[in-house]
């Protein structure tokens, strides 16, 4: 049983390890992603970690052409947009994440409802190295 505290900090450490983790209410069994401290259904206060399979479908998306500074650093911009979206996991919860392996320059080619699966991308070097979660067409 995973004993790390339920928190966004723990959640991000799991992502670094290539694990997509949610929290599960010990009272009513409801699964949440991102993890929640408290159950909003039964107001239970006992949560445990629950590993998610990382499979789901694309619920909605956008392709960003005017990019924030931290994405410009990765080389994105007006001529090189990226896709980001909302995925509904097979377990029910939703994930907000970058969508890769699609043609962000042709946003209308991207299909809502398409099956996707999680990938964990390692970027940067040295102290700046980090892992981010993305989804790709399954």
């Amino acid at each position: 049983m995973e004993e790390r505290p339920i928190s966004d900090i723990s959640y991000r450490k799991f992502i670094e390890e290539g694990k997509l983790m949610g929290s599960r209410c010990r009272g009513c069994g409801k699964i949440y992603h991102p993890p929640r401290h408290l159950c909003e259904d039964c107001f239970g206060t006992e949560m445990e970690w629950h590993e998610l399979k990382g499979e789901g479908e694309l619920t909605t998306y956008t392709c960003i052409f005017v990019v924030p500074p931290y994405m410009a650093e990765e080389g994105y911009g007006r001529e090189n947009p990226y896709c980001t979206g909302v995925v509904t996991l097979s377990e029910g919860p939703r994930v907000v994440a970058r969508i890769e392996g699609v043609d962000a320059k042709n946003p209308e080619s991207i299909r809502i409802g398409m099956p996707v699966k999680a990938v964990f991308n390692r970027v940067g070097e040295g102290e700046k190295a980090r892992t981010y979660l993305a989804f790709r067409p399954a």
Binding site: T62, P68, V95
Partner: protein
């Protein structure tokens, strides 16, 4: 849940002021608020001794970030000559100043005060577009920024969900923009005062002067489909789907109902108020509705005893074109999935069945975020009193108007209903 909650003591607006909205290198927040307050003082029909104002609420989202100055309450109290009276700053992102009015309403309804100044201010244009984008993104859910979502990006995702669910398209969003720009030239305080056709002609003239090929667009939509005129920001949000970066200020004078007639024969009464909260995209129950809107609307309709069909016109928070469609459905003015058709048929134009954003909306009037909610009320005040000049809704006796204000990406929504008796 929302039920029939009454305010304990009636509240009325008896004065209102608004600065010009725009990008001003030569004006700061104090200058803008002074401009709005000066108009408020002149707007009180039977006169106001400012010394009678007992307390102030001031909405401001993030001047801390935009101009590196926090703690705006005392600055505004000093500016208006009202120090050492109590002043409180409210923050609800782009709904900050509606929250100031809400606190003022509650303070009067409770009997604590009788006469309150409520307003808002924001000074954004001294930062670069990239910095403003970063500043606004501080009001999204923390999970969205990590996934590369921007503010327009969240609304882009909502638009794609709306298109997918109802069969709407970019052309339907353009109808919202074209309608807002039709009202724009009629608002002397607005940031943009040109129709889309005016802007097309200006672009053609510029091309002629530079000896470049002159675009041969046949109508507004052809121009709006041209990425050289209307480039993508966050698909399907394009430049003309997005409101601008703005500076501005606004304020209203709230008084206890029994005092209203001593200030004016024509007060505007607050008859319904509602506020809701919303969650990040990962927890939204729907991508074609804001749960905070539904909560706010249920509260305000419950309090007022009114129904959506009783509201004759409204100012809604069109930070992005898609937001206007979602709001007017959430508030019950149009059925789910019906707003885009109603807008296409002209129902939300000034002459239409349900005029929306006669001010030009955030899109044209401008969106200094902390000032927006009260600026919406300023428009309703003008329209209900028949003082909206060229943009006055024609041919109708107006007595019920409303404002809907959204903060962040739906984290805070308010709905306020006003009545002229």
């Amino acid at each position: 849940m929302a039920g029939k909650r009454k305010i304990g003591r009636g509240v009325a607006i008896v004065g209102a002021g608004m600065s010009r909205f725009g990008m001003f290198q030569d004006k700061d927040s104090k200058d803008l608020f002074a401009e709005a307050f000066r108009e408020l003082l002149e707007s009180v029909d039977k006169g106001l001794d400012p010394r009678d104002i007992q307390a102030i609420w001031i909405g401001n989202f993030s001047n801390d970030f935009f101009v590196h100055q926090a703690h705006w309450g005392p600055i505004i109290a000093d500016l208006t000559g009202l120090a050492p009276r109590a002043v409180t700053r409210t923050e609800g992102a782009c709904a900050s100043s509606t929250l100031a009015v809400r606190d003022g309403i509650m303070a009067i309804a409770s009997g604590m005060y009788d006469i309150v100044l409520a307003g808002g201010v924001e000074e954004m244009s001294k930062r670069t577009t990239e910095e403003v984008t970063e500043g606004l993104a501080l009001a999204t859910s923390p999970y969205e920024g990590a996934a590369g979502f921007t503010f327009p990006g969240v609304f882009g995702a909502l638009a794609n969900a709306y298109f997918h669910k109802y069969g709407a398209s970019r052309e339907h969003l353009m109808n919202v923009t074209i309608k807002s720009h039709e009202n724009a030239p009629l608002n002397p305080k607005g940031q943009f005062r040109q129709t889309i056709r005016d802007l097309m002609e200006a672009r053609k003239e510029k091309a002629r002067q530079k000896g470049l090929p002159v675009p041969d667009w046949s109508d507004e939509k052809e121009a709006l489909f041209d990425p050289s005129f209307n480039p993508p920001v966050a698909w399907p949000m394009h430049l003309f789907d997005c409101c601008p970066i703005s500076d501005g200020a606004s304020c209203v004078l709230l008084v206890a109902e029994e005092l209203a007639k001593s200030f004016t024969d024509d007060p505007i009464y607050v008859v319904g108020f509602g506020q809701g909260s919303g969650r990040g995209l990962h927890a939204c129950p729907s991508f074609t509705s804001f749960e905070a809107n539904r909560q706010a609307a249920a509260e305000a309709y419950g309090m007022s005893g009114l129904k959506p069909e009783d509201v004759q016109f409204a100012e809604v928070h069109d930070c992005f074109s898609i937001a206007e469609l979602i709001h007017i459905e959430d508030l019950g003015f149009f059925g789910e999935g019906e707003a885009y058709k109603a807008v296409a048929e002209g129902e939300t134009r000034r002459e239409g069945r349900m005029p929306i954003n006669t001010s030009g909306g955030l899109k044209c009037k401008g969106h200094p975020v902390g000032a927006t909610g009260v600026a919406q009320m300023y428009e309703v005040w003008k329209q209900l009193r028949g003082e909206a000049g060229e943009r006055q809704i024609p041919g109708r006796d107006l007595y019920i108007g409303a404002t809907q204000n959204l903060g962040g990406t739906g984290g805070t929504c308010t709905f306020t209903i006003f009545e002229r008796r």
